[in-house]
């Protein structure tokens, strides 16, 4: 049996060479990892050790099964193979290292054991194919978001080297020993070829030793190089997945905001280390696609540069004098490396975080920085005014709170006041639905529909305030707290069994960010919170809502970010539409891939940046209009309605596409004779 480390090389015993090389590599590795850990220690603490079972499940699905990578199927397969090959290689390497360092150990080398050798050989071939595919993808087809960096080239070469040295090593070993085992098929093929080429056993043995040492040194080299390169993600990403944010909404815990390294939490900085710069986040980001200077990938990369930068490396924690030096050198990250434009460009749609295979936390990074900008008063004048209106009047429109329920006038029936009488459903209406003239008509239709089907519902009238979802995403956490307190107070006085809302932003806040939301997985202190599409679905399911007039419309449905991606409510709205008789045609970007309308994160109050060439809503309505035979875009969110109606005008699609809220179709279906103004106009425009 070939035992590489028992031989002498230039007079030195192999195992000593290996000890020296391994010690050097491990020393460099540990030094670097400790350094990175030290930097993370300077950041703020954050607890991510809760709910271990859930975390383990996530580890299995997303690390072992590489779930998110399969969203791009071909590459997902390639990466899965490379990953598993690596797992076996790593196991094999450790095994071989121990045996190599202590040759006297009575264990075989890994490749002498069938259940190691066979998988390693098969995976080697598959991984080689995967590497080839990856290289072609990156260097020839270069998808957007992927770059031909030096780091990437080094790593692809290193992995290829490992695969080739192992494969050739197997071949040489078979040729040297003449042992054609069933568990070394690759080795057998290569061995036969080598023998056929005239390789003598002696030469084969030399060849094997070269390959063995090349392989070991490459791994040791890789080990030392790893934490200095982008492939640090290999180490960090499994932890990233395990330490993912398990809450819906993923808002960072209360803080003063972040402008430099120490202001972020270690987990937020960790995202930078776990990032493989794959570009998936950038590819789906609506801000980036529109022409804003924000790229989620570049943002995380900048965080990485901040974490790895020289000034971050200088002072060990605890040294008093050095600390002030470091502070002096720790330049504000925000304003220098990252511009306010980038920070404000985000709509918080979460497409980036949904795609990220290592569960990076782009939006928390942005919200932390927004908190800082808010504390400095650095924001659009319109945003400032909106925040002041929210503080003073409890709505973003700057109207008196007493005007909130004006939409209920002239309905023909009185909408119950949930503060005064018990109701089954508390309808939390929301700002846009209450105050925006275009949406008020929809709200009125909704009230008529609910009344028609005998739903027992009530509203809070002028005690209702904006839930603060957008204030929170803008970075005004204090304002969110105030609004939450006021709303909880009002809700506390009302009597109801369930809560529903017509506004997904409100839905997210009430369900997950108010009382008892995060821990229990949703609900207002145990009370179910529903979106109105879920209520309609329920009513239809139990026959309480009967469709008198089925529609034969061919429509498409837009998944609102805060209903879809944030809460996975995809099916209920579609069931409702199908029960109405509509033919639901999906847009290319649907369900978890739905493309944001651009209003979230406070962006509805902000000006576009100069570089914007196509707003997200414009891209979306073009996508809808592009579907054959579809002339209606159905929405379930008041902000979507407003954004898409405007986008249809600015994109010149008037006459090609109309926007309807789902409740309007329901209204027709239940035989409501009164039509909303916007419906009449939509009909006129079609003609």
């Amino acid at each position: 049996m070939l035992n590489p480390t028992t031989l002498d090389y230039l007079g030195i015993p192999g195992w000593i060479v290996l000890w020296v090389a391994a010690a050097a590599a491990i020393f460099l590795f540990v030094k670097r990892v400790a350094h990175l850990a030290g930097i993370l220690k300077r950041a703020r603490p954050e607890k991510r050790w809760d709910q271990i079972p859930r975390r383990l499940a996530l580890f299995v699905s997303d690390v072992l099964f590489q779930r998110r990578l399969f969203q791009e199927r071909a590459f997902g397969a390639a990466h899965f193979l490379i990953f598993w090959c690596f797992v076996f290689y790593a196991t094999g390497f450790l095994w071989n290292l121990i045996k190599g360092l202590i040759p006297a150990l009575p264990i075989p080398y890994a490749d002498g054991v069938p259940w190691m050798a066979l998988p390693m050989e098969i995976l080697t071939v598959l991984a080689l194919a995967g590497i080839l595919f990856s290289a072609i993808r990156r260097y020839i087809f270069t998808p957007s978001g992927l770059e031909k960096t030096r780091d990437a080239t080094i790593v692809l070469s290193l992995i290829s080297t490992l695969l080739v040295t192992f494969a050739l090593g197997e071949g040489f070993k078979v040729a040297a020993e003449g042992h054609f085992a069933w568990y070394t098929p690759l080795g057998n093929v290569l061995g036969r070829t080598l023998v056929g080429m005239g390789t003598t056993p002696a030469r084969a043995e030399t060849g094997f030793l070269w390959m063995w040492w090349a392989h070991m040194m490459t791994v040791l080299g890789f080990l030392a190089y790893l934490p200095y390169s982008k492939h640090a993600h290999l180490l960090a990403s499994p932890f990233g997945v395990f330490l993912a944010d398990l809450r819906a909404g993923k808002m960072p815990n209360a803080s003063e905001g972040a402008s430099k390294l120490e202001d972020f939490t270690w987990r937020q900085l960790f995202s930078a280390l776990a990032c493989a710069e794959c570009g998936r986040c950038e590819r789906v980001c609506p801000a980036y696609a529109s022409g804003f200077s924000l790229s989620p990938k570049t943002l995380v990369h900048k965080v990485k540069e901040m974490v790895l930068s020289p000034s971050a490396a200088q002072s060990p924690a605890g040294s008093a004098v050095a600390k002030t030096e470091v502070e002096a050198q720790t330049k504000p990250f925000v304003g220098e490396a990252v511009t306010p434009e980038e920070i404000w460009a985000c709509t918080t749609c979460m497409a980036c975080m949904e795609r990220c295979p290592v569960f990076n936390e782009h939006i928390p990074l942005i919200v932390e920085m927004r908190r800082y900008l808010v504390s400095q008063g650095e924001m659009d004048a319109a945003v400032q005014e909106t925040l002041m209106n929210l503080t003073r009047y409890g709505n973003s429109f700057g109207k008196s709170a007493r005007a909130r329920a004006k939409w209920t006038e002239g309905l023909g029936f009185k909408v119950k006041d949930a503060r005064k009488e018990p109701v089954e459903y508390l309808w939390f209406v929301g700002d846009y639905a209450s105050f925006d003239p275009r949406v008020q008509e929809i709200t009125r239709t909704a009230a008529r529909v609910f009344n028609e089907v005998g739903l027992d519902f009530g509203i809070l009238y002028d005690a209702e305030q904006n839930t603060g979802n957008d204030a929170r995403r803008i970075g005004e956490e204090g304002l969110f707290d105030v609004l939450k307190e006021k709303n909880l107070q009002a809700i506390g006085k009302a009597q109801f069994k369930k809560v529903f809302t017509t506004d997904p932003h409100t839905y997210q806040a009430l369900k997950h960010e108010y009382a008892g939301g995060d821990e229990n997985g949703g609900g207002l202190n145990g009370t179910p919170v529903l979106h109105y599409t879920e209520v309609l679905d329920e009513l239809m399911e139990r026959g309480a809502l009967s469709v008198k007039e089925k529609t034969s419309a061919r429509i498409t449905y837009h998944d609102p970010c805060y209903l879809g991606r944030y809460n996975q409510v995809y099916d209920a709205p579609r069931r409702v539409l199908r029960r109405l008789g509509a033919e639901v045609v999906e847009m290319p970007r649907n369900r978890g891939n739905a493309y944001c309308c651009g209003a979230g994160g406070g962006r509805i109050w902000m000006e576009d940046a100069p570089g914007v060439h196509e707003r997200p809503a414009e891209s979306r309505v073009k996508e809808a209009a592009g579907l054959p035979g579809v002339d209606t875009l159905v929405v379930a969110c008041p902000k979507d309605l407003v954004m898409f109606q405007d986008a249809i005008k600015t994109a010149g699609l008037e006459g090609n596409l109309v926007v309807r809220d789902m409740i309007e179709l329901v209204g027709e279906a239940v035989g409501l004779t009164q039509r909303s103004e916007s419906y009449e106009r939509a009909e006129e425009q079609k003609q």
């Binding site: 400032q384 700057g398 005004e476 956490e477 204090g478």
Partner: protein
């Protein structure tokens, strides 16, 4: 620099104003008060001057509903001292407010002399006077109103002040300090202060109180009656979609020979 700012609350016209049952005052049931907009600008200008020249800013206000929040907000923005004058009747007219202020200011510890006294140059409820010039007369200080820019030279006890005229024309004035300035607009829009900061200030800061040193003088103008204005005219409303309205407007313009 030592700067004193006077803040006042005025009715918030976002809420619908109603006449009380006595027929000559505002109904207080849904009435909300808000900081006088130009006083907010005065506050901002004071903070800008403090940032430039150092020193202290003291905010002073008469007791009124929601005044505490206004004073705490001012402190959260950077004001050093907040003083509230107590023992004041409700619903004083501007002239009486000015007189109360003029009487009490000398007794507020460490308030006067100040290099500059800033307050808003107007308010929507100034029925019988304007605070700044009336205060000026009582304190016998120089005064300039409609100010939009202040370049102070504390060591020379003079300031170069810009004031608005009409048609976009402004004028530059040389003002000796101490002086009273009526602010129209601060050099920058009033800054934002996060809610969390205001709440923190509410817990940590104190508002000093000083009792008014004199009863307010009786008003010399009486309100006989108050009512909602009948609009002198009301526009003829054009109905329809934007396109329809545009067509009708076009006709009107054509009739008038404006096309």
């Amino acid at each position: 620099m030592k700067i004193l700012i006077i803040l006042r609350m005025v009715p918030d016209v976002i809420e619908e104003l109603e006449v009380a049952s006595d027929g000559k005052s505002l109904d207080s049931e849904f009435l909300r008060l808000i900081i006088n907009e130009s006083d907010n600008h005065a506050l901002e200008q004071a903070l800008i001057l403090k940032e430039r020249h150092g020193g202290t800013v003291t905010a002073l206000a008469l007791e009124a509903p929601e005044i505490d929040e206004v004073l705490f907000t001012a402190v959260a923005k950077g004001v050093d001292r907040a003083v509230k004058i107590t023992g004041v009747e409700k619903g004083l007219t501007t002239r009486s407010v000015a007189s109360v202020l003029a009487h009490v200011l000398p007794s507020v510890p460490n308030a006067l002399p100040a290099d500059l006294i800033l307050t808003g140059c107007q308010a929507i409820d100034d029925l019988d006077g304007q605070v700044a010039p009336l205060l000026t007369q009582a304190l016998k200080l120089p005064y300039l109103g409609l100010v939009t820019k202040v370049d102070a030279n504390p060591s020379a006890a003079r300031a170069s002040v810009v004031r608005e005229f009409a048609s976009g024309v402004r004028g530059e004035f040389d003002v000796p300090m101490p002086a009273v300035l009526g602010i129209q607009a601060a050099e920058k829009p009033p800054r934002y202060v996060p809610v969390a900061k205001v709440r923190a200030v509410m817990k940590s800061a104190q508002i000093e109180t000083v009792a008014a040193s004199t009863a307010a003088q009786a008003p010399n103008v009486t309100i006989l009656e108050m009512k909602k204005p009948e609009a002198a005219g009301r526009a003829a409303m054009i109905e329809g979609s934007p396109q329809e309205a545009a067509a009708k407007i076009c006709d009107i313009l054509a009739e008038r020979g404006l096309l």
